[in-house]
Each structure stands twice: as structure tokens, then as C-alpha cells.
């Protein structure tokens, strides 16, 4: 084992050396290194220093991991969380987000919230169980006003105080809640009912964060999973249907009326919006066909042409990440769900500028940013 460690150190040193000489990270398969060339380091600006990839692993294989990639050095560490903590993350990591100075990883089957420092050192591992000690199975997290709101498969949203790291509130919603987003003082929660297949839920819960109670259930197409908001306070919900006769459906909710005001014809399975940039993809499990399209949050319409085509190398899109600083889009590819996936980076014109072997089933890409101080 020790020998292996030396080998790793050797490889890392070699990589550092190579990247120093050629300005090309050894692990980048494309032999392109757009990152530093495209990021204009203006004084007092923020740069994307690197990224974390949350690899969910396989259900019941207990092999979730967080990979680390450093754009400046080209360094790649496959299971950085284990390296930092001497233990694994658990089973089926499902979400990774930052709030304040802490990172929060939601581990679904292990039913834990891993609270970490920005360099992945665990601060607290919170067991998410009910009064009887049964797993609640947390899924997704959103933040507001010093609190983290976490959807749990047992039909509740729990509230975590980000200072004390104690769970201080609970709110019942629909069946098997998945995605959550926050607009103003309200949270919108997708009640998927996924575990009640074929009797899916078909509602989005509107939670008043002040009283932490459910105000309303908005009816949507069955199996809502993904939910994102744009800057104009519109909320986009993707229902995944029943993977059969009822297909995927993207719907737009007006948060002043809290009604679905528009249903898109464009079939989408996932959507990401950051500021004025939006992108979404669809993937058909039965024929493995996919499509990636830009979404304009201002006109609230999809582009007519595809963002990338089959030449991109993508096989099974599994996660999206928008980098507005480097003007890039990252697409995580789960391939056949049983082998290590791939992370691709594209510029906003759809040119592939980056690719990297990720872990097993990469489902979240998290950008590590760094502020560069203006020199006086």
C-alpha cells in the first residue's frame, strides 16, 4: 500500500511538473487547457480555481465519492473526501452545495448530511432519522436566511440551522419530495411520489419559510423532480412522468399567483439556470437518445438549434453545471451507470474544451471559486 502512495505522490509531482512546463494538465484528455487561457484574471475578480464532482456511486454499494480537480495545477484526486477524512462518504450522495463557509453534502441512502469545510474536511455528520430512528433519506438542499432546507423521501422538509448545525424545524409536504428551490421567503418543493410508483405524486408544495408550513399544493404533471428559479422569480418544474405513456414535462410557475402558467413543448429531463444563462437536456432511457438545448431566461424560450451534437462525445447526460465566470457549461456523463463517468466542459458556443474521467455516476458538479485581490 505504501508503495502505492509513493506512486501517487510521484504521479502528482509529475503532473505538477508537466503542468508547470506545458501549461497542460496531464489528466485533461483533450489536450486543451482553456481554463486559464479563457479566464481573464482581472484585478479583484473571482476565478474558478477548480471543481468538485459528487459521484453518487451505485445504490447499496456504499461508494459515493467526491472528486477534486484543480484547474490551475491540473491535479486530480478521485476520492478527495476519503483522503481528507479517512473514511468514505456513504451510500448515494445526492446533492452538494455551499452556504457561507461550509459545504453540505446530502447522502441519500445513508441518510446523512455531511457538513464540511471548503476543502472537504468533515465538520459534522448529521444523521437524518425520525423519532423512531428510521431513515428519512434526504435528497436535496436549498438555503435561505441562515437555514438549510432539506427535502427528505419520507415526505418532509427539514430545517437545519447552519450556525448550530442542529435540525430545528420540520414541515410535512407530499410524497417523496425531490427538488427544492427558494424564491423570496417561499420554498417550492417537488413531490415526486417516485417510491410509490406507479401512483406518483403530482404536486409542488409551496412552503412559507417564516411559519415553516405548507401554504399550498400546486398541481403539476406526475412525478415532478427538478425545480429551478430564474431571476424574474419564475419557477421551472420538470415532471418526469411515468417513463412510459406520460412523458417528461417542463412547466413554468408564476410565483405571484403560484399557478402553472405555461407548459413547454420542448421535452426536458434536467434544467439549469444561472443569471441570464440557461441550459437543459433530455434523455430517453429506452433508446439512449439525448438532446441539449440552451434556454434563455429572459425570453423564457429554448434555442431552436442544439447546444452540442453527437460529436461532443456525450453518451448519458447526468448533471449540468453553468460556469458564468469562465463562460462554460459542464456536462457530467454517467455512461452505462456502472463504470466511471466523464465530465465534459464546453464553451458557450458548444465547443468542447475539457474532458475528465469522473467517478461512478457523477450527479453534481460544484465550482470552487477564489477571489483574486486587486494589487495596490
Amino acid at each position: 500500500m505504501q508503495q502505492k502512495i509513493y506512486q501517487y505522490i510521484g504521479i502528482i509531482l509529475l503532473m505538477l511538473l508537466l503542468s508547470g512546463c506545458e501549461k497542460e494538465p496531464a489528466k485533461v484528455a483533450d489536450n486543451t487547457q482553456p481554463d486559464t487561457s479563457q479566464i481573464v484574471i482581472s484585478p479583484d475578480s473571482v476565478i474558478v480555481k477548480g471543481l468538485y464532482i459528487l459521484n453518487e456511486g451505485l445504490f447499496n454499494m456504499n461508494n459515493s465519492s467526491i472528486s477534486y480537480y484543480d484547474f490551475t495545477t491540473g491535479e486530480y484526486i478521485a476520492d478527495y473526501f476519503s483522503q481528507q477524512n479517512g473514511r468514505g462518504l456513504g451510500d448515494t450522495g445526492n446533492d452538494l452545495q455551499q452556504y457561507g463557509s461550509k459545504l453540505y453534502c446530502i447522502v441519500n441512502v445513508s441518510s446523512t448530511i455531511e457538513v464540511m469545510t471548503p476543502d472537504l474536511k468533515s465538520i459534522k455528520r448529521i444523521a437524518v432519522v425520525n423519532d423512531e430512528g428510521k431513515a428519512r433519506q434526504p435528497r436535496k438542499v436549498a438555503f435561505e436566511g441562515g437555514k438549510a432546507y432539506i427535502t427528505c423521501f419520507d415526505g418532509y422538509v427539514i430545517r437545519l440551522d447552519t450556525a448550530s448545525l442542529e435540525i430545528d424545524g420540520i414541515c410535512q409536504v407530499g410524497l417523496n419530495p425531490e427538488g427544492i428551490c427558494i424564491v423570496g421567503k417561499r420554498a417550492y418543493v417537488c413531490n415526486s411520489g417516485g417510491l410509490n410508483n406507479p401512483t406518483y405524486d403530482n404536486s409542488v408544495s409551496v412552503i412559507n419559510l417564516q411559519s415553516f408550513t405548507e401554504e399550498k399544493k400546486i398541481e403539476v404533471v406526475i412525478n415532478p423532480c427538478v425545480i429551478v428559479a430564474d431571476n424574474d422569480r419564475y419557477v421551472y418544474v420538470i415532471s418526469r412522468g411515468n417513463y412510459g405513456k406520460i412523458g417528461y414535462k417542463l412547466q413554468r410557475i408564476n410565483t405571484t399567483t403560484n399557478e402553472v402558467e405555461y407548459a413547454y413543448d420542448e421535452e426536458m429531463l434536467n434544467l439549469a439556470i444561472v443569471g441570464d444563462y440557461g441550459i437543459g437536456y433530455t434523455y430517453n432511457y429506452s433508446n439512449q437518445k439525448w438532446k441539449i438545448k440552451n434556454f434563455d431566461p429572459q425570453t423564457k424560450q429554448f434555442s431552436t438549434s442544439d447546444f452540442v451534437g453527437t460529436t461532443s462525445g456525450i453518451q448519458t447526460p447526468y448533471a449540468l453545471c453553468i460556469d458564468t465566470i469562465g463562460k462554460r457549461v459542464f456536462v457530467a456523463d454517467a455512461l452505462n451507470f456502472t463504470t466511471n463517468g466523464t465530465l465534459y466542459g464546453f464553451d458557450w458556443d458548444g465547443n468542447r474544451v475539457f474532458s475528465l474521467e469522473a467517478g461512478l455516476n457523477p450527479n453534481t458538479v460544484f465550482l470552487i471559486t477564489e477571489r483574486i485581490k486587486k494589487k495596490e
Partner: protein, 686 residues
């Protein structure tokens, strides 16, 4: 590699390795008319040495089986070359066998001459066969060379034969009762009995029951990362308890001097916990599995003429499975019930055409159904017809067996699409040539080819959200070439030395691989497409008679299997070893008989394996060695045979996993007491 090496040294030091391959059961059975009659009719095959079979065969029988550390049939199969047992750990953990990397669905299990079937999953859980009433466990590669066989037993890549103890009586005996009481670590409690009666010269019966109960809360070491030098802790297995009861009644009738009729009524019930993955879950698993299986089986064999024999077999049975998980986060929890019914009929005619040529025709028909409590389940029925024509030709120095198998299946479903009808003709041939045959030495060469396939199971085809009615049968080709050496000498210290070496190439196309990535019970399909297996099986055994009542048996087996994925040259798993398949594995055994005392040791070794298709460190499972020791004493008090046996299992407390996250038990102890009572005929009897 280093670990493996150390383990090897450990073993040499302990000299404790046991594989009881095929040392002929030193049969001191009572000679009586009934038994010799049975031998003539039931089986054309005599007690055959594994070195003399046309197709490779390994078996463990009689005393070697009963006086061993084996509790379940799977414990025996682990000792066979080429057999890879997937074991979820503990007495209650599911155990299936894949022979020569063909996959568990390519092994048919024959229980007293009739195939055990499971139309739903297609894999037989070997943990349900307790050793207490078994006489023989035999594994045949390709197929058995027994001609008077049903077609179904010929329709697989390999055959696992389980034979129960048949009643044998001397003229003065009329009843025998064997009692067994076994207890051990982790709450093992296992009483069993076997009552054998002789009702007349024509009718005998046996009644047996075996109850096994274990808490299964064994300790195990958890390593928190893949690198085992990191932090670890000791945990206890939870929800790993099992209760099971097997009971059967056999009635044997000899209707005339050349006909025999065997009937069996069988019942098995078990209720067990399905433990969760070993660590990191904040809540314990609440999953339970309940099985109820009962069947009536009947087999009639008659010599119609001195050269023509007939066998008719029939079976009707039902299998009920209930899987519950109240912790599952839907509104009701999971309570899945599955009901399988089977009706099966088989007829075989075997004609000896010439002294060296026999031809057999077997025709089987069956109906299997599966019903569930799920809404909108397919509710499939499968009609299956299997016809086998086999010829055996044995000119001087040669043994040739070959045949054709015609399979036709037709599925009907009550809901949704049914699988297409399949009709397929598959050939097989085996050849053995005796190179040298002297009083003491026997050298043979052998080869076989078999083309076979397995039909997709009901789960493969119709499982909700997982099943795919468009699946094709999984096709397997087997090529085998080997040599055997037999040394026998009744005067010499070395009574017997056996050696077999078989190299093989298997090729699987349209392979359907099931990996339990959800839980133990619900399997998800992975289609590997194409797998190539290049392997070598070596078995050896040595029997020494040191002094009067002192004998030593040594056995060993070694398996090398390179089983690689050849599906997609561009894929990340191309040329990678398929999951849960060690390249190197082996088993060793030793047995010492000192008059009434016997001592035994056995070990199984396995090289590294991968839990997933990609051969990377993250998916690696470490090599392991498990060593078991036993000591027993047999004595006779007042016409009553008693045997006391003590066992230490996994004496080095090796912490290992066969299936990822399902730890195997560490060191454990067992004690067993057997009492054999006999009842003599009253002298007034006619």
C-alpha cells in the same frame, strides 16, 4: 498478491486444507439384496472415480460429506474446482453457484433425479439444502454422462446433483433412526432426524426433518476506505437471523423384480432477515424474506427388456415468496408476494443396441407460472418442451457420448407483451480415450464440446420496470480438453492418487448478468453482451493407508479463470474481468482417520475480485483464505452408533467479503452429536 502469499504460508503451516473431491467413498455399506437391486436398476453408473468420467465430474459422498464442516450444499460446492459460490454471508445469506463463469442460471440442480426449478429468478439458492440427509453432492461440467436422464438435466451448462440418503437394510433390521443435534456460534441451533423404515421386502420409506435457526449476529471488521490501513471498527451483523425447516417423506417401492418407484413429498419453509449493507446506514434494514416451497415428485424406473429401460418422472409443486420492507418510503412499505406453480413430466427410454452402443431418448414437458400481488404484473405462463437424443459408444479404449437437445418454449402473459417463442437445437459431444491402463496406473485424455443456452427468466422478462420481454436467450459454448491420471494399489501405503487437469474455453454471447445493486432480492439486469472465459481446473487427491485403521486423505483443487468482458471494444470494461470472479482460486483438504477418531481441515482461497465491471481499485475486493478445522469421534454403545463432532470455522478469523458490503462470518464454533438407533426384526416375523 502479498496477502495471498501470506495466506498460502499460513496454510502450509496449518497443513489444513481440504477438498474432498472424489475420493471414492470407502464404502463399507452393508451388502443386501435391496441395495444391489437398486444399483442395477437406478443407475447404470457405478461408483465412478472422477478420473474415469468422460466429462469432468467432482463429487463428495457419504462419510466425507457427513463428517465435514459443511452445513449447507453450498459449503460443499465451494470446494469444487471451477465453481464460484456467491455468498451473502452467514447461514441465512443467499448462495448461488456459477460454474466456470457461465453464471448461476447455467447450472441445473437435480434433487434425487428431478430438476429443481425456479422460473422466477432462475438461480437456485443452495443454502436451502441441508447436508443432514444428503448422500452425494456431485458437480458435472457440461452434463452428466448418465443416459437414463431427463432432458432437463441435460439442458444446462453444468449439473449439480444432490442425492438424498436412501434406506439400506440388512435382513435383520427393520427401522433406523438417525438423530442429530447441532449448535454453535451466533445462536445456531440445528436439530435433525432421519427415520428409515422397511415395511416389507418391496417397500421402504424415509422421513426426515431438519430445522435450522440462527441469530447470525456475527462480528465483523469494517474498513472505512478502500485502503485497509485506514480507520476501522468492529460491528455486529444485524437482521441476519434465519429460521428454516426442511422436511420430506420418501416412499420407495419395488413393484416387481425389475421396476422401482420412488416418491417424494417435500416441504421447505424459511423466514429470514436481509441485512443492510455493512456500515454507514443510520438505520438498520427491516427487510425480510419468507419462502415456502412444497412439491410431490415421483419417479418410476423399469427394465422393460434386458436391453431396454424406461424412466418416467413427474413433479407438481408450488413456491411462495414474500418480501417485506416496512421501512421503504412509499405510503405502505413493501409487501411483495410471488407465487410460482410448476407441473413437470419427463420420460426417457434407453436402448442398448450393441454391447458398446446405447441410445437414449428423453422428452420433458413443463408448465411454469408466476403470479404476484402487484398490479398490472404480466402474470406469465411458460410451456417448455425439451427433447434430448443421446448416444453412448464405448469401443475399446474409447468412450464417446454425444447428443442433440431440442428446446421449444412458449410464453403467454395476461398483461402486456410476452416473450417470443424460442425453438433451438443444441449439440453436445464428449470423448475420452484411455491412453494407459495397467493394474496400478490409468491415464486418460478427454474432451467435450457443448452448445447450450438459457432462457431469460420471468424476472429478466417481466419484472416491473426492470424486465424486458425482448431479451434473447443467453448462448453459451463450452470447449474442454483435459487429462486424468489414476493410481491405485491395494497393498501400497499410497492406496490411491488421482489427478485431473482440464483446460477450457467458454464463450457467452447475449449474456444477461444480474447484479443485486438494489438489494438481495431484487436484481437489476446488466447486459454484458459477450464474455470469453479461458480457464484451467486442476483437482488432485491422495489416499494413504498408514497402518491398520489409520488413513489419511489429502485433496486439492485449483482454478484459474480469465473471464473477460468482450462486449464493446470502446467501452471502459473491455477485456476487464467480469464481476465477482477471481482469476485464481483454490481449495485444499485433509482428513485423518485414527480408528474411531477423525480429524479434518479444509481451506478455500480466493484471489482478488471486482464488485463491478470496471477493474479499478474502488471496485476491488481483497483476496481471502478461510480455514476450517474439525475433530470427531465415533463409537458404538449397545448397538447404537454415536458420533460427536466439533468444528472451528474460519480459525484465523479472516475478515472478508464475497459480495461487496456483505461480510462473511469470522471465527465460529460448532458442535454436533449424531445418534444412530436401529430396530431389529422380531424373530416371529415371516
Amino acid at each position: 498478491m502479498k496477502r495471498f502469499g501470506n495466506a498460502f504460508v499460513k496454510i502450509l503451516l496449518l497443513s489444513g486444507l481440504m477438498l474432498r473431491i472424489g475420493l471414492p467413498y470407502a464404502s463399507a455399506q452393508n451388502q443386501d439384496s435391496l441395495r444391489s437391486l437398486q444399483e442395477v436398476i437406478v443407475s447404470e453408473k457405478k461408483q465412478q472415480l472422477p478420473t474415469h468420467s468422460i466429462l469432468p465430474e467432482q463429487s463428495i459422498e457419504g462419510k466425507q460429506l457427513q463428517q465435514s464442516t459443511a452445513l449447507q450444499a453450498s459449503d460443499v460446492v465451494k470446494q469444487f474446482a471451477g465453481a464460484n459460490v456467491k455468498d451473502y454471508g452467514g447461514v441465512g445469506g443467499m448462495k448461488t453457484v456459477s460454474v466456470r463463469s457461465l453464471g448461476a442460471n447455467h447450472t441445473v440442480v437435480g434433487y434425487d433425479g428431478v430438476a429443481v426449478s425456479d422460473g422466477q429468478a432462475g438461480q437456485i439458492d443452495l443454502s436451502r439444502f441441508s447436508i443432514s440427509n444428503l448422500q452425494t453432492v456431485r458437480l458435472s461440467n457440461g452434463q452428466s454422462s448418465e443416459l437414463l436422464s431427463s432432458a432437463r438435466l441435460l439442458a444446462s451448462g453444468s449439473t449439480l446433483t444432490l442425492q438424498t440418503i436412501r434406506p439400506t437394510f440388512t435382513a435383520t433390521k427393520k427401522a433406523k433412526l438417525a438423530l442429530q443435534l447441532q449448535g454453535g456460534s451466533f445462536g445456531l441451533f440445528n436439530p435433525a432426524f432421519l427415520l428409515q423404515n422397511k415395511w416389507s421386502n418391496r417397500i421402504t420409506s424415509s422421513l426426515s426433518a431438519d430445522y435450522t435457526q440462527i441469530k447470525g449476529d456475527y462480528p465483523f471488521t469494517v474498513h472505512y476506505t478502500q485502503n485497509n490501513q485506514d480507520s476501522s471498527s468492529t460491528e455486529h451483523r444485524k437482521n441476519s437471523d434465519v429460521k428454516s425447516l426442511r422436511t420430506e417423506f420418501n416412499l420407495y417401492a419395488f413393484t416387481s423384480n425389475d421396476a422401482q418407484w420412488d416418491n417424494k413429498l417435500y416441504l421447505y419453509y424459511s423466514e429470514r432477515g436481509l441485512p443492510s449493507l455493512i456500515w454507514y446506514n443510520t438505520a438498520e434494514s427491516e427487510q425480510r424474506l419468507e419462502n415456502l416451497n412444497y412439491f410431490l415428485q415421483s419417479q418410476y424406473t423399469q427394465a422393460l427388456t434386458p436391453t431396454l429401460r424406461l424412466r418416467v418422472s413427474g413433479k407438481a409443486g408450488r413456491q411462495e415468496t414474500r418480501y417485506t420492507d416496512p421501512a421503504f418510503l412509499n405510503t405502505t412499505g413493501i409487501d411483495d408476494r410471488y407465487y410460482q406453480n410448476e407441473v413437470y413430466l419427463s420420460g426417457t427410454l434407453c436402448q442398448r443396441v450393441l454391447p458398446s452402443l446405447s441410445v437414449a431418448l428423453a422428452a420433458d414437458g413443463s408448465l411454469n407460472t408466476l403470479r404476484t400481488n402487484a398490479e398490472e404484473y404480466a402474470n406469465p405462463n411458460r410451456w417448455l418442451s425439451q427433447t434430448a437424443l443421446t448416444a453412448k459408444f464405448t469401443p475399446k479404449h474409447w468412450q464417446i457420448i454425444g447428443g442433440l437437445l431440442l428446446t421449444a418454449s412458449s410464453d403467454k402473459t395476461e398483461n402486456g407483451e410476452a416473450a417470443k417463442n424460442y425453438t433451438k437445437l443444441t449439440p453436445n459431444i464428449g470423448i475420452a480415450y484411455t491412453l494407459l491402463n495397467t493394474n496400478n496406473h490409468d491415464v486418460r485424455l478427454r474432451a467435450f464440446y457443448k452448445n447450450i443456452f438459457r432462457l431469460p427468466t420471468f424476472d429478466d422478462l417481466y419484472y416491473i420496470n426492470v424486465g424486458n420481454p425482448n431479451l434473447k436467450p443467453e448462448n453459451a459454448q463450452q470447449f474442454n480438453g483435459g487429462a486424468t491420471y489414476t493410481y491405485t494399489n491395494n497393498e501400497h501405503l499410497v492406496r490411491q492418487f488421482l489427478f485431473t487437469a482440464d483446460a477450457y474455453y467458454n464463450d457467452i454471447t447475449d449474456k444477461i448478468v444480474a447484479v443485486p445493486i438494489k438489494n438481495l432480492f431484487q436484481w437489476s439486469m446488466l447486459n454484458f453482451g459477450k464474455v470469453e472465459i479461458t480457464g484451467l481446473d486442476i483437482t488432485t487427491s491422495l489416499l494413504l493407508y498408514i497402518y491398520k485403521d489409520i488413513s489419511v486423505e489429502l485433496n486439492g483443487s485449483y482454478t484459474r479463470q480469465v473471464a473477460i468482458d468482450r462486449t464493446d471494444p470502446k467501452g471502459k470494461t473491455y477485456n476487464h474481468q467480469i464481476p465477482y470472479t477471481p482469476v485464481n482460486s483454490g481449495a485444499f483438504g485433509m482428513r485423518l482417520q485414527l480408528d474411531h477418531l477423525y480429524l479434518g481441515a479444509s481451506a478455500s482461497l480466493s484471489g482478488k475480485r471486482y464488485a463491478l465491471a470496471q477493474n479499478i481499485d474502488e471496485n476491488r475486493l481483497d483476496p481471502y483464505t478461510e480455514i476450517n478445522l474439525l475433530a470427531g469421534y465415533r463409537l458404538e454403545i449397545l448397538n447404537t452408533e454415536c458420533e460427536l463432532q466439533g468444528e472451528i470455522l474460519n480459525i484465523t478469523d479472516e475478515q472478508y467479503q464475497i459480495v461487496k458490503n456483505y461480510p462473511m462470518p469470522g471465527r465460529a464454533f460448532r458442535v454436533r452429536l449424531n445418534v444412530n438407533l436401529t430396530c431389529n426384526k422380531k424373530s416371529t416375523n415371516i
